[in-house]
């Protein structure tokens, strides 16, 4: 499936081909910390299919649970996190952060990883009171 996307401010835009049958929810503590959220959702580009159309992301290298270095790319203007990929040369697989994909409403996760560090309430979201729009006001 062909996808395109970008950061919130528009500085970074990209396109790629992904396998939409593999969309990953990651509950690892690095994803929680870097994104500031309970988990990240990622789609995986076919090797060599990712093209950065505009902008130059800032890159931060972390060491994954496997011991491998991973590049975490984000927009230096607005802080949107775009992808992760491997260090070094050659054709790469890009783990695209699904929130930045324009077609994200048609992507549904098919697997979850690092569930051992998932938040205990994450399977029970439907029990948390919902507001269609803005926040409840503080008392």
């Amino acid at each position: 499936m062909k996808v395109d996307g970008g950061c919130h401010c528009g500085h970074l835009t990209y396109e790629a081909e992904i396998d939409e049958s593999i969309v990953t929810v990651c509950h690892c503590t690095d994803c929680q910390n870097l994104a500031g959220t309970p988990f990240r959702v990622t789609a995986h580009s076919f090797e060599g299919s990712f093209t950065l159309l505009t902008g130059k992301p800032k890159e931060y290298v972390k060491t994954g649970g496997s011991g491998n270095p991973r590049i975490q790319a984000f927009c230096a203007e607005c802080g949107s996190q775009i992808y992760s990929t491997s260090v070094g040369e050659g054709p790469k697989v890009y783990n695209l952060r699904v929130g930045t994909i324009r077609q994200r409403d048609s992507l549904v996760p098919t697997r979850q990883i690092w569930a051992r560090s998932a938040h205990h309430w994450i399977d029970n979201l439907s029990s948390v009171p919902m507001y269609q729009e803005g926040p409840p006001q503080p008392r």
């Binding site: 990651c26 990240r40 230096a76 996760p109 697997r111 690092w114 938040h119 507001y131 803005g134």
Partner: protein, 146 residues
């Protein structure tokens, strides 16, 4: 509740007092796009209790659906999204992104907002196959986890 937190690389550290009645899930399209995931979880500080202990965050301003300006802070080195607040003067309540809070395992959301744009699958996570760690089946997808 007193909390402290940090970005992934450790440049930014902070502490704050939280209002535990204001731990919120946000499904708005800005949160989805900027956190690059399905929703954000924020914990709101009591007014003027957030103290930045180390580091100098980058900031980005956006206009919310209400028309109000929001100032979003993130680490310029590792990109960790840390918190947002209002623009201008006056007492500051910070919406702290819970992923950077050290005590986040103790924080449970009490409400969800902007559910009209929520991803429909977020209520069905328990039905999606899961691995305790990352490597191996289902689906023979280890090539994506190099």
């Amino acid at each position: 509740m007193k909390i402290d937190g940090a970005c992934h690389c450790g440049d930014l550290t902070y502490e704050a007092e939280l209002n535990l009645e204001q731990v919120l899930v946000c499904h708005c399209t800005d949160c989805q796009a900027m956190s690059a995931t399905a929703f954000r979880v924020v914990a709101r500080s009591k007014p003027d209790t957030l103290t930045l202990l180390t580091g100098n965050p980058s900031t980005y301003s956006k206009i919310g659906t209400s028309g109000a300006e929001r100032v979003l802070s993130f680490c310029p080195r590792c990109g960790t999204n840390v918190f947002s607040t209002t623009a201008g003067d006056g007492p500051k309540v910070h919406s702290i992104r819970t992923g950077s809070i050290r005590q986040r395992a103790e924080l449970v959301p009490v409400a969800q907002m902007w559910t009209r744009s929520g991803q429909p699958w977020v209520d069905s996570l328990s039905s999606i196959p899961k691995l305790e760690e990352a490597y191996g089946p289902p689906g023979g997808i280890t090539t994506y986890d190099r």
